[in-house]
Amino acid sequence: MATFETMTINMGPQHPSTHGVLQLVLELDGEVVVKATPHIGFLHRGVEKLSEHRTYHQVLPLTDRLDYLAPMHNNLGYVLAVEKLFGLTDAIPERAQVVRVIMAELTRIKSHLVWLACHALDIGAMTVFLYCFRERETVMDFYEKISGARMTSNYFRVGGLSADLPAGIEQEIRKFAQEMPGHVETYEGLLTGNKIWQKRIQGVGVISAEDAIDLGVSGPSLRGSGVNWDLRRDQPYSGYENYDFEVAVGDGCDTWSRYHCRLKELRESCKIILQALDRLKPGPILADAPKVCLPPKKDVVNSIEGLIHHFKIISEGPKPEPGEVYVGVENPKGEVGYYLVSDGSPRPYRMKIRPASFINLQALPKMCEGSLIADVVAVIGTLDIVLGEIDR
């Protein structure tokens, strides 16, 4: 009787299609993957440990660096959790809520554009990469004008926003949101009818809805398997209940289905942005809670109360009552949640981040075992992982 031997090969951590420092050890039978073992942790920076030694305001910049393709979404989840811990959830002004939604959806577009660009590039469609990065650059410009940074935005604050929108940006965002669906059509024109693209992703990376839920997969990766669940609609935060949008669901359970889900989400995000711009009215951008929220600079330099509050918040930090909260938000990649435990001190006693990419990556062996080695690259692309969030 002939004996079969499998071959073990190593993919990553230095590999262009592993989207960062992901190492996969693949056991192969010819070209078929028998076993895939992800190794992670190369980018572990100990964000949860560091956060226990910072005040609630000082933790915020650390959250930018988790999913660096969607920094404002990480900020949003964190500030919502802190606001809930301080009992400020209902005190956030309308304008701050609407701006948060606009920025969150711009971030979703930005993140999905990187997904599409890299996913297509990995599979061999280079042109669409250049188109996606062109539009992403527009969003990056918005980021820069609004927050001052292209990636580490740190724009939201506990209680509202760090600054109001600069003059004239609303028209620019409106123009972008009106034009973006046309760009999505361009991408579709380049990919959807393309025979190579179809062959590479149809029926690849199949995962059933039951398996996906069991493995904790969330976001578009789960909706591509036919599960109609979106936290923006089902547990609304930041006033998402006021917007009219459809949740993109596909029933193919494969990479093709997830591709269509994310493209639809790009269009829906544009719809939400346009609705939010219509709702945007002048008003305060920070909750009226001076003992918790950092005061605006003009109050710090012009009023004694502002100066004292600023001094107290910076030197000591606001103290929530003891308790624990969990807030999950719908990140472009899935549910990102923050679990905060307070012991009444000005620092989080424990902060646990629920990383969407970490948990989605766990489904990778299930999705690529039994398929060809070339499909592993497609599966990594379709899971839309970012290692900064996986390793924390």
């Binding site: 572990h44 949860e48 440990k49 809930k84 839920i213 904790g216 969990y326 999950g328 646990k352």
Partner: protein, 160 residues
């Protein structure tokens, strides 16, 4: 079924094993005994619809007894409800049964919990470290593990 109804059914089913129920900011937390954790989690999943394990972690209450709390964040896709389950784990016997047979998600989450907090999960299918190197000594998220690392002097501040 409301969260309250789910908690009532849990109490009716497990009685003594449900130690405490608390609510904070609209979130319900149930503390249970660790010996029954697998049975309780299976019941929550199969009978009460909490089909999605959102997150799993441990909290180190250094200086208190029992020292650790293992925390399970549950979600029900369908009813859209959240429930938090906690189980106390003593320092001298920092072990709890794995729930990776109930939700496959728990596999990596428990590995992370072991890696960073040093909780051992009985019958875990793959009990390796996940974020730290495999030869790492210690569990960094424990409160008695220094933030600057085990082999460096504590940071004294810039003024000294």
């Amino acid at each position: 079924m409301s969260v309250q109804a789910a908690v009532d059914r849990l109490k009716a089913q497990f009685g003594e094993a449900v130690v405490a129920v608390s609510e904070f900011r609209g979130e319900t937390t149930v503390v249970v005994k660790k010996d029954d954790i697998v049975a309780i989690c299976s019941f929550l999943k199969k009978e009460l619809g909490f089909n999605f394990l959102t997150d799993l972690c441990a909290v180190d209450y250094l200086g208190q007894a029992p020292r650790f709390m293992v925390v399970y964040q549950l979600y029900s896709i369908g009813a859209h409800q959240r429930l938090r389950i906690k189980a106390a784990v003593e320092e001298g016997d920092a072990r709890i049964d794995t729930v990776s047979g109930v939700w496959a998600t728990a596999n990596w989450l428990e590995r992370e919990c072991y890696d960073l907090m040093g909780i051992v999960f009985n019958n875990h299918p793959d009990p390796r470290r996940i974020l730290m190197p495999s030869d790492w000594v210690g569990h960094p998220l424990r409160k008695d593990y220094p933030v600057q690392g085990p082999d460096r002097e504590p940071y004294q501040g810039r003024l000294q």
